[in-house]
């Protein structure tokens, strides 16, 4: 069985999270830069004295597909790398994953994931 883990984290914690994941032997991930709206206030940006009015903050989205056996280690690694204790540290979502297909070989399921 497989899970799809989505984590939204602070951009400046990405390096720590990546390192924690490598340490947990999770080496495959997709990373994107996204905008999000949580509870936290960011650093206000000013342009010629005008405070920017947008309230979307920059976040990093990690997507990782794993076999069940790796879920706990993956979640733990993300938390250890991303946690600062301040509002805005982010969230992790764990979803059931129905199928995985490796394009190169056509392999399916658990074999295709790692």
């Amino acid at each position: 069985m497989m899970k799809y883990i989505i984590a939204i984290i602070q951009p400046h914690r990405l390096e720590e999270v990546k390192q924690a994941l490598y340490d947990a032997e999770v080496n495959l991930m997709t990373v994107s830069e996204v905008l999000g709206h949580g509870r936290q206030m960011g650093i206000a940006e000013y342009y010629r004295g005008n405070k920017e009015s947008g309230n979307l903050l920059r976040k990093i989205k990690l997507e990782i597909a794993v076999n069940d056996a790796f879920v706990e280690a993956t979640v733990k690694a993300i938390v250890s790398g991303a946690q600062t204790g301040e509002v805005g540290d982010g969230k992790i979502f764990v979803l059931d994953l129905e199928a995985t297909i490796r394009i190169r070989t056509g392999e399916k399921g658990s074999k295709a994931i790692g």
């Binding site: 951009p11 650093i43 940006e45 000013y46 342009y47 979307l56 920059r58």
Partner: protein
């Protein structure tokens, strides 16, 4: 009735004045945007505004310092035992520095340019020198600390070295040290300071190799440096004459040769020639030809250009990796090392064909090489010690380095509350 006779002042030369004003503007272009873009393209995208900001602020800050006391300290008449080391305050706030021809030139008494023209041309040199150091501490220095450091460095390091090497009172000038456009005063001086600051501030938190965020900027910056350098070098004779033409040509050729040489070294050691390598080589060539521009011919320029890429390549690629100092954008590796080579090369290749009074080692004057080594050696020691002291003091007063979190967030947002690029509109 007594007849009043106006004092006879030498007539200002129109052609030289026009040329030198343009040269001053060309040298301005080297700092902003030239150096700003060259360095700015190399940092992570969260830090580019901090680099551009440091370039712009250096330009503005040092210009203000220059007209108040800097120019007087660098080029003003010195007094007593200190005369060989630093100027007095006679010309503070540009007192007596006016539209008339100055009686007091570093070279070319016949150029007959207004004293103000010489002052503003030199202002642009005073600006770019501390700006070069930005490359060493990029991505991790507190902005407030940068401002204090730049003020102190301009007054305590740049002004005295400029005085010693270029002023008619300066002891290195009197010794016969040759520095046509600033190999020692600008590049060795800033390059050594860069090394000191890089070591003292420490490595970037995330100093594993991150790709430069925009090499297109870096190329535009390098090309603007090249363009501005014609003012820097060809203007340093202070006249629109044959010597300026010669300096222009050798400057161009050294840059071209060094660009090719760096590309070839990339090809040899890393399998593919890179645009970044060719751009870096061009800048290294410009650095190395700077002290020699008024003394060597094209053959000298070709050799200087080819060799500078080799020595800088060794330092940037191998030595830096071995000692692990984080000279982030290679301010020491290119300007320091390139400047040292250029100053030595001037002592080797200066040929009487260009200026009959100046001969180097290969033209029967081995003493010139000795003098060059003394000037370079003194500048290295002086810049090293003074920069370390200034760094330490500023560090104690306000702290040099940003916090780890600010560094991770990036200096654009953490120091300036703005960013260069949006993600969505």
């Amino acid at each position: 009735m007594e007849t009043v006779v106006a004092a006879v002042t030498p007539y200002v030369d129109f052609g030289n004045t026009a040329w030198m004003l343009m040269c001053a503007a060309l040298v301005l272009l080297m700092t902003a945007p030239g150096l700003g873009l060259f360095y700015g393209g190399l940092v992570k995208r969260k830090n580019i505004l901090s680099i551009l900001m440091q370039s712009m602020v250096t330009l503005a800050l040092v210009s203000v310092i220059w007209v108040t006391v800097g120019y007087s300290l660098a080029f003003g008449p010195g007094h007593g035992a200190l005369a060989g080391f630093i100027g007095g305050l006679d010309w503070a706030f540009l007192k007596n520095v006016g539209m008339d021809v100055s009686p007091y030139y570093i070279s070319q008494a016949n150029a007959r340019i207004p004293h103000l023209v010489f002052m503003i041309f030199q202002c642009m040199f005073a600006v770019i020198t501390p700006a070069l150091i930005i490359g060493a501490f990029a991505e991790r220095m507190k902005f407030s600390a940068f401002v204090l450091f730049t003020i102190a460095w301009s007054l305590l390091v740049y002004a005295p070295i400029a005085h010693m090497v270029w002023s008619a009172d300066g002891w290195l000038f009197k010794l016969g040290a040759l520095d046509f456009a600033g190999g020692t005063v600008v590049h060795v001086n800033a390059g050594i300071a860069a090394l000191v600051v890089a070591i003292m501030i420490g490595r970037r938190k995330d100093s594993k190799i991150a790709p430069p965020h925009n090499l297109v900027f870096t190329m535009v910056g390098a090309a603007l440096l090249w363009f501005g350098w014609f003012g820097f070098n060809a203007g340093s004779g202070l006249a629109a004459d044959g010597l300026a033409a010669s300096a222009f040509v050798v400057t161009h050729i050294a840059a071209a040769m060094a660009a090719l040489a760096w590309g070839a070294l990339d090809w040899l050691f890393h399998r593919k020639p890179t645009m970044f390598g060719v751009a870096t080589g061009a800048v290294a060539g410009l650095v190395a030809i700077t002290p020699a521009a008024g003394f060597v011919d094209v053959t000298g320029a070709l050799i200087i250009g080819a060799v500078v890429s080799l020595v800088c390549y060794v330092f940037v690629v191998f030595v830096k990796g071995f000692f692990k100092y984080d000279d982030a954008l290679d301010a020491f590796g290119v300007h320091g090392i390139g400047g040292i080579w250029g100053a030595i090369a001037t002592g080797l290749f200066a040929t009487p064909v260009i200026q009959s009074a100046y001969k180097g080692f290969f033209f029967g004057n081995p003493d010139q090489l000795k003098v060059q080594l003394i000037a370079v050696g003194f500048t290295i020691v002086y810049s090293f010690i003074l920069t370390a002291v200034i760094y330490k003091v500023v560090d104690l007063v306000i702290g040099m380095r940003v916090s780890e979190k600010e560094e991770a967030i990036g200096l654009d947002v953490s120091q300036h509350n703005e960013r260069a690029y949006t993600l969505l509109e």
